[in-house]
């Protein structure tokens, strides 16, 4: 396994172990993970369900503790922090995008974003201005007063992205951000994340087994059984399948549909050539 050069690394994970217990039965989730992510990278954690992607993201995001190892994020060893320190660390360094959006349901889209700004000590007016700015960045400015249950899945995820970026975090951790979205909406979201990565230089670490997400990655890290099993490599930034049309919202509807169908046909033909997909692949 290649030991990462930590000079420009914003995330460094060394020999990380984490085990869940169900009664007296141990379920190892992370078995000595080592990895490093550079500043401004758009990295993707890939792997099957149960491979440890979400656990690794949670530990890096200071949402969960670990049994052993070292996690240095933005120069701070987060495993040595107490609860309050971890909360403040999350607030000032990390933005989260979750699989099930996880917006606060009693607050409007605008209030969801303004809330994190207020947690950082901004006053109401400033927070609302920032919320409005980020809502327009994710093309949701016209829906800011809607509550999450009045938004579609894709719209909710855009608000979640805006919330994650509103506090100007060093890193955005996204756990299966496209899992609850249809293909087209998922592609649009990835397109948006890439744009934000390019524009603001924020580091993105995304866990997913969605091929579109993998294609968008500047670095792919594959996990299996709680370990990094594939040498990471800088893969040339492959535009997402619809990157020509990015942002897709700018295309006429007929063209968007044509691209969508073309992509779908491509995928079908690949599947046909391979034959029936094994259940566990």
């Amino acid at each position: 396994m290649i030991q990462p050069d930590n000079s420009s690394a914003i995330i460094t994970v060394k020999k990380l172990h984490k085990c869940y217990w169900v009664g007296s039965m141990p379920f190892p989730a992370l078995n000595g993970v080592n990895l490093s992510i550079d500043r401004g990278e758009f990295a993707v954690l890939a792997g099957r369900s149960g491979s440890g992607k979400s656990t690794l993201l949670n530990v890096i995001g200071a949402l969960e503790s670990a049994d052993n190892g070292e996690v240095i994020v933005n120069g701070e060893n987060i495993l040595g922090m107490n609860h309050t320190e971890r909360t403040l660390f999350r607030l000032h360094n990390i933005g989260f995008v979750f699989q099930s959006f996880n917006l606060i349901r009693v607050l409007s889209a605008r209030e969801n974003i303004a809330y994190v700004c207020q947690l950082q000590g901004m006053d109401k007016k400033e927070s609302e201005e920032i919320a409005d700015h980020w809502l327009s960045e994710v093309d949701m400015g016209h829906l800011g007063y809607r509550r999450p249950d009045q938004l579609s899945g894709g719209q909710q995820q855009r608000v979640a992205v805006a919330r994650a970026l509103a506090t100007n975090p060093k890193i955005v951790l996204a756990d299966e951000p496209t899992a609850n979205l249809d293909t087209l909406t998922g592609q649009r979201l990835m397109c948006l994340l890439q744009q934000l990565n390019d524009k603001f230089g924020t580091t993105f670490l995304i866990s997913s087994h969605d091929p579109d997400v993998k294609n968008a990655a500047s670095r792919l890290i594959k996990l299996a059984d709680g370990q990094v099993v594939r040498k990471w490599e800088k893969i040339p930034p492959t535009p997402p399948p619809i990157s020509k049309a990015c942002p897709i919202k700018n295309l006429p509807l007929a063209e968007r549909l044509r691209q969508f169908l073309r992509n779908k046909r491509k995928r079908s033909s690949k599947t046909d050539k391979k034959g029936p997909t094994p259940r566990h692949s």
Binding site: L63, H83, T84, T87, R90, L91, R105, Y115, L119, Q120
Partner: protein, 351 residues
């Protein structure tokens, strides 16, 4: 009749002698903010007769107008009208006395009694009204006549046997008793508060206070349980929301105080609603009161007016609201503490 004057005192001679110059005492009562009203009375035992029927009664002569400031007896009129002032020979009987002798409104009724000099005299009165006070002991013995008529009948001049005072508040009773004891000491007057006149009423009120306290404690316990239950259910339902809040940077202390504030808000909103509805009910019932005459038998040993007049005071409202706010804070402590123990990663997986 003392059941009607829980906030007053009775002033009368220790001997059988009557108060010969009540005007001197009345002067002391006027313009005193601690006194709501006063009346002069003559009380004596007597006999009431109609045709062949007769019954022993307590004859009470009073100033018809002044009496309404001291007691609510006039509200107990079952039939007929209240006494006319002056020397009219109006008579009101307790409902049981009237039934026992078969008297009806307008009947000529003979009253027999003893003058202060010991002479037995009788006089004809006209039954103008029948009273049902709710206290069977009084309804069984009461014969009420105008003070001036009694003074003329007993040849007492302006003398009376009692001066009854109603204080403007319970709290003033002891002070008034002390004041009159000082001002009238050496004149042979005995100043009795209602507690002295009828210790049983005092005991009953103490019992009533204790019972009321128990009820309030039960209500507070119910409020506590309800708040705790509501907060715990809300906590369960909002586990994900709280988990998100903690995940994106809300400190546990902020979550703790947020839930405490929510418990207080719950009480403030409930209190505002309760006081609003309760205040309107009190306003509506303040004239007629809550009539519990149907349960009159239950009250007969307690000398309690079956018509209860609800009263909402700022003092009691503030005290109850303060108590429930403290209770809400106490009840909110546990759910707030539980909220700080939420496992973020687990709560984010809940739906």
């Amino acid at each position: 009749m003392y059941r009607y004057m829980p906030a007053g005192s009775s002033l009368h001679r220790t001997s059988n002698d009557h108060i010969k110059a009540p005007g001197e005492i009345i002067l002391l009562l006027q313009d005193s903010p601690e006194i709501q009203g006063w009346t002069q009375r003559i009380r004596t035992s007597g006999l009431v007769s109609l045709g062949g029927s007769s019954a022993g009664v307590q004859i009470m002569a009073t100033d018809p107008e002044q009496e309404t400031w001291v007691t609510h007896m006039h509200r107990g009129l079952k039939q007929g009208r209240w006494l006319n002032p002056g020397t009219s020979h109006d008579l009101l009987l307790g409902i049981t006395v009237a039934q026992n002798i078969g008297a009806e409104i307008g009947d000529r009724i003979v009253l027999m009694a003893q003058r202060p000099n010991g002479e037995m005299v009788s006089e004809i009165f006209f039954l103008r009204g029948i009273l049902e006070t709710g206290a069977p002991q009084i309804d069984r013995t009461l014969a009420l006549i105008p003070l001036n008529a009694a003074q003329a009948w007993f040849e007492m001049g302006e003398s009376v046997t009692d001066i009854v005072i109603r204080a403007s508040s319970h709290e003033n009773t002891a002070g008034l008793q002390q004041r009159f004891n000082q001002e009238l000491s050496g004149d042979g007057y005995e100043i009795l508060a209602w507690q002295d006149l009828d210790p049983m009423v005092r005991q009953w009120l103490e019992f009533s206070d204790a019972y009321g306290l128990i009820i309030i404690l039960v209500v507070v316990a119910l409020v506590l349980t309800e708040i705790l239950n509501t907060m715990l259910i809300a906590l369960h339902e909002r586990q994900k929301e709280l988990g998100i809040m903690i995940a994106i940077g809300t400190r546990k202390s902020q979550i703790f105080f947020m839930l405490l504030i929510e418990a207080v808000m719950l009480i403030l909103l409930g209190g505002a609603l309760g006081y609003g509805v309760g205040g309107l009910l009190v306003l509506h019932l303040s004239d007629g009161g809550i009539d519990l005459s149907y349960f009159a038998n239950a009250f007969k040993f307690f000398y309690m007016d079956p018509v209860i007049l609800p009263l909402l005071t700022l003092d009691s409202a503030t005290r109850i609201l303060g108590t429930t706010l403290v209770a809400a804070l106490l009840a909110g402590l546990y759910p707030a503490w539980r909220a700080t123990k939420i496992e973020i990663s687990q709560s984010l997986r809940t739906f």
